[in-house]
């Protein structure tokens, strides 16, 4: 579509139930978005083990090669990625919003943007057009809403589940693709020294605590119907007056656009 230089950062994901390694859901969506924008010229970048077979699932989406910055597990990916991107000459860097393994804090795009001094768009849903060094994009908001933003190139965008769903990965291209490993300096992540990962504990369910001093009050609280009273009731008014009252409330709540 455009002759844009786009890099998508990809990671190795984990299936939410089995924990088996897979292509990460949001990263795959970022790749999909990049493919729609740049086609085969899209570049993929991963920091980690180049012998990881799961990475080939991204290549199976229709790409010939992927750059891998070779790192042992537990190393900090941020400085090497920042170094690489500083010299890669990309106009747009796409990432998922958080990793599926490790800390998964979702800080990477923010820290990269801070280090590179680029603007960051969170929750990119669609790139509408790119002209004169500016991109017009749609940002996904909660509740299915969209916001239009104009942002200067180059910029970083993170992608969440509102982005277009990723295409399937084909087996043949995945086998044929090349993983280009390169040596980088290894920086250890300081967090792992002080924090430990453990299997997720189920969150305690919040109890409905009734602060009542007497048994009758407790009984009342237990038998009460969903919040009664308190509302304004308009009776014997004309349809116009009723509509006006509803209209006022809708405007006040800001749902009428």
């Amino acid at each position: 579509m455009t002759d844009l230089n786009i890099i998508t950062l990809v990671s190795v994901g984990a299936h939410p139930t089995s924990g088996r390694a897979r292509r990460a859901e949001q990263d795959a969506r970022a790749v999909e978005l990049g493919l729609r924008l740049a086609g085969e010229r899209l570049q993929l970048l991963h920091a980690g083990d180049p012998r990881e077979e799961t990475l080939r699932a991204y290549l199976g989406m229709g790409l010939g090669e992927m750059a891998v910055l070779e790192q042992p597990p537990g190393a900090d990916a941020l400085p090497v990625l920042a170094d690489y991107l500083r010299h890669a000459g990309a106009q747009l860097v796409l990432t998922g919003s958080q990793a599926e393994t490790g800390e998964g804090s979702g800080m990477l795009p923010f820290l990269l943007a801070e280090q590179l001094g680029w603007p960051l768009v969170v929750g990119l849903a669609e790139v509408e057009k790119i002209e004169k060094g500016q991109a017009q994009v749609l940002q996904a908001l909660p509740r299915g809403q969209r916001r239009r933003l104009k942002v200067r190139l180059p910029f970083i965008a993170s992608v969440d589940n509102a982005a277009p769903a990723a295409r399937q990965s084909a087996f043949g291209p995945a086998r044929r693709g090349q993983l280009q490993a390169s040596e980088v300096a290894i920086v250890d992540d300081s967090l792992l020294a002080e924090a430990q990962l453990q299997a997720a504990r189920p969150r305690p369910k919040r109890l409905k605590v009734i602060k009542a001093k007497t048994g009758a009050e407790r009984m009342k609280a237990a038998t009460a119907k969903a919040s009664g009273g308190g509302g304004q009731v308009l009776k014997d008014v004309s349809a116009q007056a009723g509509a006006e009252a509803i209209f006022k409330l809708l405007v006040e709540e800001g749902v009428l656009r």
């Binding site: 239009r148 910029f155 969903a226 509302g231 006006e244």
Partner: protein, 407 residues
């Protein structure tokens, strides 16, 4: 008033039934009376009155006989004790989401966590951007309120907001920054702030205790346990909201002007989204029709005019007026709309369960006694067709006026 004694058998029955919800309200305040056999009977429970702290007081000097002899309803509003921090030893800064200008449940949980971290000598500062409609900051646990208003912060201006938060950081140097890890802004703002301050945040935190915090990591299969850092992005239900104290909500001013930055991201405004394509469970504004709707074409026109997602009660779906995937309620979709408008729905309990998470409910109904009216924040009693038609007209006039202003 006449002196005729009127008996209310039902009230007497309630007064005898200790388990009845209205039992307390129906108690006579008499402390002694002549029994049927000529013996003076006393009720020791009726002596005294309820003091301002909700504790029963007995004034034996006879000067005050509180809680006059009249029968009163038991729903006296209890004034919660005021929590005053004159000279805070440190600050805990909270940046609530303020969806629709009000504190969300997530924000309240976060303020509860902030109060836990503040203990008895720290003060909780809420940093609020733009206009707000909230009037219960005191019971939510806000000691200091820093209100940053101005057109700088209007719309989507994360970079400007981060500058302002940086100014707050240098003025108050809060011990902790707490933000909701939500998609509605808190998660993004918190991470931007973390990148700006160079702090490594704890994200998706669901428990903070004894200097340690636990947050979900990765895809949610693991927990990360670590020392609580300065910046915490907390998940929903990270702590109990404040419930038993009032706070002073003292306004706080930011010294010095906030630098104005050249925005690198320009907000071009919201994009019209087809409301029918938004999944009902997360739609913001739902117009729902039930048995009382007779003119369904008018109903659909109203939904288009209002820009609302359509919903329906079970009856409307069973009768074939709406598709099954539009049913709201226990057997259909549990909706989370901010504004839910129920037209001709009487409010079966299954339906009311389905709209339990809705903020504002508007009811249009013929029957003033139905359950939906009891749940609604605004109800209009009348013919739904006439009211919908009037509403369409009113909204059309509003839209036209808006276009004329813009032109």
């Amino acid at each position: 008033m006449s002196d005729i004694i009127r008996r209310d058998p039902r009230a007497e029955w309630i007064a005898r039934n200790r388990l009845h919800p209205l039992h307390a309200a129906m108690q006579k305040a008499e402390t002694s009376w002549m029994g049927p056999n000529g013996i003076v009977r006393k009720n020791p429970h009726a002596v005294g009155f309820i003091g301002p702290n909700g504790i029963k007081r007995i004034d034996r000097s006879g000067a005050q006989q509180g809680g006059s002899g009249k029968r009163t309803t038991a729903s006296a509003v209890v004034q919660l004790p005021l929590h005053v921090i004159e000279q805070p030893a440190f600050y805990i800064a909270v940046v609530p989401d303020m969806i629709g200008g009000r504190l969300s449940a997530h924000d309240k949980d976060l303020l509860g966590l902030a109060n836990k971290l503040a203990g008895s000598d720290g003060a909780v500062v809420a940093v609020v951007f733009g206009e707000y409609k909230e009037n219960a900051f005191d019971t939510a646990g806000v000691d200091r309120l820093l209100h940053l208003d101005g057109e700088l912060f209007d719309g989507y201006a994360p970079e400007q907001r981060i500058l302002a938060l940086g100014a707050v950081e240098s003025q108050l140097a809060p011990r902790h920054w707490l933000l909701p890890d939500s998609r509605t802004g808190g998660g993004e703002l918190g991470r931007r702030l973390a990148a700006k301050l160079g702090e490594r945040p704890a994200t998706r935190v669901w428990q903070v205790a004894e200097g340690q915090c636990i947050g979900r990591a990765g895809a949610g299969r693991e927990d990360l346990v670590r020392r609580a850092p300065r910046l915490i992005l907390a998940a929903v239900e990270c702590a109990e909201p404040v419930s038993d104290s009032r706070h002073e909500v003292r306004p706080l001013e930011l010294q010095g002007k906030i630098a104005r930055n050249l925005p690198r991201i320009e907000d071009l405004g919201a994009v019209a989204v087809d409301p029918a394509l938004i999944p009902m469970a997360e739609a913001e504004f739902i117009l729902s029709g039930g048995n009382g709707v007779k003119d369904w074409t008018l109903f659909h026109r109203a939904a288009v005019a209002l820009g609302a997602t359509e919903g329906a009660s079970r009856v409307a779906v069973d009768d074939g007026f709406m598709p099954r995937n539009r049913q709201v309620g226990a057997t259909g979709t549990w909706v989370t709309a901010r504004v839910y408008m129920a037209v001709g729905i009487s409010g079966a309990i299954q339906h009311l369960q389905g709209i339990g998470a809705c903020d504002k409910v508007v009811a249009v109904n013929m029957d003033p006694g139905c359950d939906m009216i009891k749940r609604a924040d605004l109800s209009v009693i009348g013919d739904s067709a006439a009211i919908l038609a009037a509403l369409i007209e009113r909204v059309a006039a509003y839209r036209q006026a808006g276009e004329r202003d813009a032109a």
